[in-house]
Symmetry: C2
Subunit: 135 residues, 2 copies
């Protein structure tokens, strides 16, 4: 494993669990959320930075040193926000590895057509359930 | 693949995508939801049965022929409902294979301690993101 600098937007359930695990794996993390109360779920040994603010504002992303990021994960509950943030990170700041969370499975294809890497928890869960059904 | 009789409760995003895929794979499906409008997302070639009703009522489960089910998936958006339904299916009706959806990752351990098989889309998504980060 190589050490990576990762920016994550959205400290909901997925963001929180991921940040805690990535931080424990030794990666450098910046987590951004509009609601600073969302950071309360971070574990006490989280060693990264938190930024309370709107990631759609370029000052917030610059504050997060996005130009140095190896990875950028847009994990908010809003699909449009995630798509927009992923495009900004990819096209404007040239972050090498970008993923957008897709909450609505029907939109997953649309994002893929836009050449945005996605993660759709519902589709992955369905894949897993199919596997367990057939297994 | 062997043909299975599967009862699914909750026709939300996960239930819908799963039912459509399992039906296409040739399994016999009964999908139950309180809100019959939820069935509108089922594909036109869905060949199973839909039941509009509250699965917590034994008449609804009996109507679904739960005593013949090979598998029972509780996939509503409510963790308590899913846990209760899974316990009913497992302990009262002796369904051989039961899974409860867990929306709150922190409850996953609790369910496992109760010996209920779970699927938590958020935990699976986090696992997948860790894999992609490290990969």
């Amino acid at each position: 494993m190589s050490h990576k600098y990762i920016i994550i937007v959205g400290c909901g359930r997925l963001g929180t669990i991921l940040v805690n695990r990535l931080s424990r794996l030794g990666h450098s993390i910046v987590i951004i959320d509009k609601d600073t109360g969302a950071f309360e779920g971070l574990s006490s040994d989280f060693s990264g930075f938190t930024i309370g603010g709107d990631a759609a504002e370029s000052s917030v992303l610059q504050n997060a040193k996005i130009n140095k990021a190896d990875m950028f994960y847009a994990l908010t509950n809003n699909d449009n926000t995630n798509l927009m943030l992923a495009q900004i990170a990819k096209d404007i700041y040239k972050v090498p590895f970008v993923i957008a969370r897709v909450n609505d499975p029907q939109r997953d294809i649309v994002y893929k057509n836009l050449n945005i890497n996605t993660i759709c928890p519902i589709i992955i869960a369905a894949d897993e359930l199919i596997k367990r059904t057939e297994g």
